[in-house]
Symmetry: C2
Subunit: 480 residues, 2 copies
């Protein structure tokens, strides 16, 4: 017997044994806790705490790109806000990452029709030489076009990729949009391009607000200048390219890597009464891109989690387990906060009762999915019943991923939900200057708070666990 096969057989036997054992011990939520959760839900939909939190963060801190002066101000804000909301415990955990800075950025068509372009550099882009970089454009309809291109047609040119996204409730076009943004620059660099430019990974067809976002570059040696055009500017460039004459662009990007920076995840807890060491983990990411004020990405997520925990704190008694709200550092440039948390808490996976992060805007939650052990499906059904009146459908056929940063903890075995928001207009504002407070609807935000408060409280009050353990759920595909 091959060694690996024997290990698998052993693992299977262990799994079957665990299942048989656990079937006797189905996780359930006591009736009294269900009733309390229903009351919590009904209070939440009228509570303004989360809106006040995101208003405060976006107004008093504003943009807070990782490593900037406002990164420190955002952490100070989060510590103070947790305390003023009455959290029992507030602390930080350091997160170290490469510092990347945007100082200025300009783009223009040089020939045949000189005019400025609305352009923004992508995260981890290299800067252009001082005075700018001027080169001919070679255009591709999509990432496959670039992948299949002969390097000789690309060398020394500005690669342009025009992947088009359209609005969807689940935002699935972002799959190809983000792939173009992350992988496109790397492929272009490998083929000798002078620079990379894409049609923004966004859906705001009529707005001159280019969408930034991180590339796949990981250090300065690998990086070339990489930027995004607003959609109307992309249309303009595509019209001109379609005329068939050579098109020359100039990019002048003063951006780049600048050493390393140590920030922090900021954590606030409502301490559990019976099992304080066991935690329900919720949160959002504290950093934002620098172009907007990070209202939907992800002030909303931080506010939803803070608001939900605050409502639980206001109940007559503390829940059995701890509610942990994590405001993650530097999600935007590669889940740095989420990865640091997962490393620092790898040994505590089993103490994470259940978790999920909000990071898809402030639209209403319409679907819940879960990655939990089979014996906890009944408890998930109980949660589903309490949030059903909020318009949330439970789809038992799909896994739950835990959201952006907490996907890393789910990858290590934390039981996780996905609470899917309506993202129809999310990619209108995502990563661009228009991500501001006015995009958040108070009622929609409160619906999110209600869902988070209900599931967090019910999970914290459950008799039994949801299956978190090192290596659990490693094949459910929901934590990439």
């Amino acid at each position: 017997m091959h060694r690996l096969a024997r290990f698998n057989a052993l693992a299977l036997g262990l799994s079957l044994a665990l299942s048989a054992h656990a079937a006797d011990k189905a996780t359930t939520i006591p009736a009294k806790a269900v009733t309390a959760a229903e009351q919590l839900r009904d209070r939440a939909v009228n509570d303004q705490t989360a809106y006040e939190v995101v208003e405060s963060l976006t107004t008093e801190v504003g943009p807070r790109v990782a490593g900037s002066a406002n990164d420190q101000r955002a952490r100070d804000w989060a510590v103070a806000k947790f305390k003023s909301l009455g959290f029992d415990k507030v602390y930080t955990e350091t997160v170290t990452y490469p510092l990347w800075e945007r100082r200025s950025e300009h783009g223009a068509i040089v020939a045949p029709f000189p005019q400025p372009l609305a352009v923004t550099a992508l995260g981890y882009s290299a800067g252009t030489p001082s005075g700018g970089l001027t080169a001919e454009v070679v255009a591709f309809n999509d990432l496959d076009g670039l992948k299949n291109a002969d390097p000789s047609t690309i060398k020394g040119k500005i690669v342009y990729v025009s992947t088009h996204m359209t609005q969807q409730k689940d935002g699935h076009d972002y799959g190809m949009g983000s792939a173009t943004r992350t992988r496109g620059p790397v492929i272009a660099a490998e083929k000798g391009a002078a620079a990379f430019l894409l049609r923004s990974a966004g859906t705001d067809a009529h707005s001159r607000t280019p969408h930034t976002g991180v590339t796949g570059f990981r250090d300065a040696k690998q990086a070339i200048p990489a930027a995004a055009l607003s959609l109307p500017d992309a249309d303009q460039l595509e019209r001109i390219v379609a005329m068939g004459k050579p098109v020359t662009l100039k990019l002048d990007l003063d951006v780049g890597f600048n050493g390393t920076y140590t920030g922090a995840n900021v954590i606030g807890e409502i301490t559990g009464a019976k099992h304080p060491e066991q935690v329900v983990a919720i949160g959002g990411h504290l950093d934002s891109w620098d172009l907007g004020t990070g209202a939907i990405d992800d002030g909303a997520g931080v506010a939803i989690a803070m608001g939900a925990a605050k409502l639980i704190k206001d109940m007559p008694q503390r829940p059995d387990r701890t509610i942990r709200v994590i405001a993650f550092a530097n999600e935007e440039m590669g889940l740095w906060g989420g990865r640091a948390y997962a490393e620092q808490h790898a040994k505590d996976v089993g103490k994470h009762q259940l978790g999920t992060e909000s990071d898809f805007g402030a639209g209403k939650i319409w679907r819940m999915t879960a990655s939990v052990k089979p014996e906890a499906r009944g408890a998930i059904d109980q949660i589903a019943k309490v949030i059903a009146p909020l318009g949330v459908a439970y789809d038992a056929t799909k896994p739950g991923g835990g959201g952006s940063d907490l996907s890393q903890m789910h990858g290590k075995g934390m039981a996780a939900l996905s609470l899917t928001q309506d993202g129809t207009d999310y990619f209108d504002y995502h990563h661009n200057a228009n991500d501001t407070l006015d995009k958040i609807n108070r009622g929609d935000l409160a619906q999110n708070v209600a869902v988070y408060a209900v599931f967090s409280y019910m999970a914290a009050m459950a008799n039994g666990d949801f299956g978190s353990a090192p290596g659990a759920f490693s094949n459910d595909g929901a934590h990439d």
Copy 2:
């Protein structure tokens, strides 16, 4: 008898005498021309010429602020376009005006919550000192607040005025919006302000695109730095001001007057077969602000007029009178092209059969009003009947003003229409970066072309005139 009263009595007698005389000679449009106009209308609604014209102008020239390198390119484009469309006569008439330049612009909140602001300098603004101007804000809800303020509360501060506009079909809120933008800076300067800032005169509440536009400054001595915030940025500033602590802003505007510039109105004509010296005058303005590509303001106007004249040119025979299309220079900074035209053609007022300019976007025309002699009302009724199927109502109770630049010629006595467009979303894009081709609907643009083609042709074919004469219509209030 008082001298003035005697003059009025004389004028009244003269007017009555003229009316009695003219009643014998009512202006009418021959039935054959009416039929031809109906056919022209039906061709126009399916014609793509105007769309192709505005696509060409906004793509191949793009932004074309008066006095810029693209101003010359726009004039070259217009001459070439008139010729390629087959106009009989193409020429230019010089227009000289102060040159104002925008080189760079930045704004930020310095205290209490440091963050950048989306800001744009206003036309004829002064620049700030190199390195920027930092001062405390004094905020007013509207222009009256500023007017009534004690200068001691303003001296050395940045005046902020938060006039709010909302969307309307006729865009009437722009009255107070543009008054705030033009008069506000002058009043602030007179009261000793360091700078002037306004909530943009726009209606795009969710867009970080500040709206530029001219101030009332007329020279560098009078000017102080003056700029506009986008509406979300205005909301942000207003939220912070409402907290009651001092708010400090920094403005860094590298802009200003830079001598004089001589551009030109560009004119194309379809020469009349019987009375070539008599002209129907239509047009738009060729210049745009520099932030967008000037699609709705006013590439659309130029395109509508060119497209309408082209359709008339394509008829089997030239009309009796000349169709003159004027692409005006520098409307944006104070009707410079329109005023130059009116001065240069002051002696020819009587040769202007009827005129109007399109300068309110590309929305459908929904109303026609006219300033014509009473004896020409029947001809206007005839025009109204032909355009009624296009959804245009004729309101005989209101005067016609001739549009922006041609208001100057109307002020000198030219009979004029107003063809009012649906401007519901016009002030979402007016004077900001979002004024791009994608805002133009082909069908709506073609409806405009149909109306312009019909009225121009019918006026050109009329038996008789519409009352143009030096000093006519001087009291109708429609040409300010």
